[in-house]
Amino acid sequence: MSAQKLEWKGAYAPYDLVKELCIAIGVMIALTVVLTILFSSPDDRPSTIAQWSRQIPVGEGGFVPTALSELDGSSGTAEYGPPYNHAADGQHAAFLYPQKWLGVSHPIDTAQAYVIEPLRTVPNDPALQSALATYQAAPEKTQKEWTDAYTKALEKASVEGNGSIKVPAGSYGPVPVMMSSLLALAQSGGLEGSLLTSNQFFQTDYTKPLLFMADGGLLEKRAEAQHLLGEQWGMMNETGSYPGQSWLWLYTFWYQIEPFSGSENADILVILVMSVLSLAFVAIPFIPGVRSIPRWIPVHRLIWREHYKATGGGPLNPPARAAP
C-alpha cells in the first residue's frame, strides 16, 4: 500500500450527489415493492409445546421421553454446561474455555424447571402431589432406577384413547403419575404459561420453553422438512424458497467439512476461524500480497477502461510542461 496521498488534479465532470441519492432511494423502494408483491415474506407459525405433546407424545423426540430426560438429567440442556448449568465445561479450543470462563448466567435446573415446578402448579390433584412428594423424598439412586426403568418402558409405550400412556408393567415408582399429569398439562396448553412464569407478570424471555422444545423432536422434524438442518446449510436458510441469510455462507460452509463437521467443539472452532478471517478482511490494506492482488489481476482495466482509453494509463497527474 502506498502511504503517498493520491489526489486527482485532472478533469471533473458535473455531478449531482443529492439527486443521485434521491433516485437511488426511489429505485430501491420500487424494487422492494415489486419483490414484495411477487414473493411476500415467510411467516410459518411457531410450534407450541401443546402441539408437540399432542403430535408426538411418545417415541423418538416425543414429549414424554424428553420430559423424562429433563427429570433424570440426561437431556441436551441438562448436560449442556454454561450458561445454563455446571454439568459440563462446554466447548473449548486448545487452552481456551470461554464458555466455562463466562459462567452460568441463565441457570436452569431442568428437573425443577420442566417437571417438578410445573406439576406443583396443578390444583386439586392429591395423587399427583403425593407422587411428587414420594419422588422428591426418594434417594437419588432410587430416583434413577425409576427413571431408567421408565425410559426403557417408553420404547414400547402407546397412548390410550383417553390420553394416558400405556407401558409394560414394571417398577417405576411415582414417575408414571408425574409424566401422565405433565402430558395432560402440556396438551391443555398450560405448560407454556408455566415455563414463562417468573416473578414478573410481563415476559419477554423464551429461553426455558425454547430449550425444552429444542431438546425434543418437533422443531427438528419441521426444520428437516424445510431444509434448515445444520447439514443442509441450515443456518443461512429460512422457511420456504427465500434467500435467507445467504451472507452467512462462509460461516455455514465450515460446518460441512472436516475437521469441523465431526468435532464436538465445532462451534468454537468455526467462530475462531471466522474471527481470524474477519480480522484479515478488515486489515486487507495492511496485508502484503493480499493487498497487491488487485494490481496483479487487472480487473481495474475493466472498471476504468474509459479513463485508460482517454489517458493511455500514464501518470495520474503528469507534471506541467515548462513554458517555452
Partner: protein, 220 residues
C-alpha cells in the same frame, strides 16, 4: 446588578476574538477544515468515476434508508402487528427484501472496492469502516431473524445459541431471549450501522474516490 456584555456575532477570525479558546469554535473549524461544504456536497466528480460499479455504493445507502424507514413503521406498530394484518405483512416484506438488497449491493460494492484497491493513498480508514459495517450488519440481521416470533425465529435462535455460547458471548447475548434480541435489533445495531455508514461516507467525501492505477506503476 452587573449587565452581561452582548454576545459577539458568529463567525469571523477566531484568533482575534475571545472565541479562540472556545471548544465549539475549534470543533467547527476542525469540521469545516476537514470537510469544507464544496467537498461535503460536491457538484463535480473526477472523470474516471465512470463505471456501473460505482452505483452499488449509493444503492447500499438507499437500501439502508428503506430498511430504516420500514423498520420504523414496524417498530411503531409493535412486534406482533405484521403477523395479524396484511398491511403489517407488506411492510415486513419490504423490510426483508430491503435487507436482502442491502447485503447484495454491499457485497458487490466491497468486491468492486477490493479490485480498485480503494485503500490506496491514505484511504485505509475508508476501507476499514466499510468492512466493519458489513461485519456489524450480520448480527444486526441475525437479531431480526430471531425476533420474528415465528418458526424461523424458534429454529434460528435455538441453533445460533450454540455458536454464541461456545465463545462465551451467550452469557450476555441470549438469542432465545426475545426482549433482548428485539432491543439489539431495533436500537443498538441500527445505531452502530448508521454511525459506521455516516463515518464511511464522510471519509469518502474527505479523501475522494480512489484514482485509477497508473498502468506503468502496475507493470513495475
Amino acid at each position: 446588578m452587573s449587565v452581561a456584555p452582548p454576545p459577539k456575532p458568529p463567525g469571523g477570525d477566531s484568533s482575534k476574538t475571545p472565541h479562540g479558546d472556545s471548544w465549539t469554535v475549534r470543533a467547527r473549524e476542525a469540521a469545516v477544515g476537514a470537510l469544507p461544504p464544496e467537498k461535503l456536497l460536491p457538484d463535480g466528480q473526477p472523470t474516471y468515476v465512470a463505471s456501473w460499479i460505482y452505483i452499488f455504493g449509493v444503492a447500499t445507502i438507499a437500501a439502508l434508508v428503506v430498511i430504516v424507514g420500514s423498520g420504523v413503521i414496524l417498530a411503531l406498530k409493535g412486534p406482533a402487528w405484521w403477523h395479524d394484518t396484511g398491511v403489517g405483512h407488506f411492510f415486513n416484506s419490504i423490510h426483508m427484501w430491503a435487507v436482502e438488497l442491502f447485503f447484495f449491493t454491499m457485497v458487490i460494492h466491497l468486491w468492486g472496492k477490493y479490485w480498485m484497491a480503494a485503500w490506496r493513498g491514505g484511504r485505509a480508514r475508508t476501507w476499514i469502516t466499510g468492512a466493519v459495517t458489513f461485519l456489524i450488519a450480520i448480527p444486526a440481521a441475525l437479531t431480526g431473524y430471531v425476533s420474528q416470533q415465528n418458526f424461523d425465529a424458534q429454529w434460528i435462535s435455538t441453533q445460533a445459541k450454540d455458536a454464541m455460547n461456545s465463545v462465551g458471548i451467550g452469557a450476555f447475548f441470549n438469542t432465545t431471549n426475545f426482549g433482548q434480541m428485539y432491543s439489539w435489533h431495533i436500537l443498538l445495531f441500527p445505531i452502530a450501522v448508521v454511525a459506521l455508514v455516516v463515518g464511511h461516507i464522510l471519509l469518502v467525501r474527505r479523501h475522494g474516490v480512489v484514482p485509477p492505477f497508473e498502468l506503468e506503476q502496475r507493470r513495475s
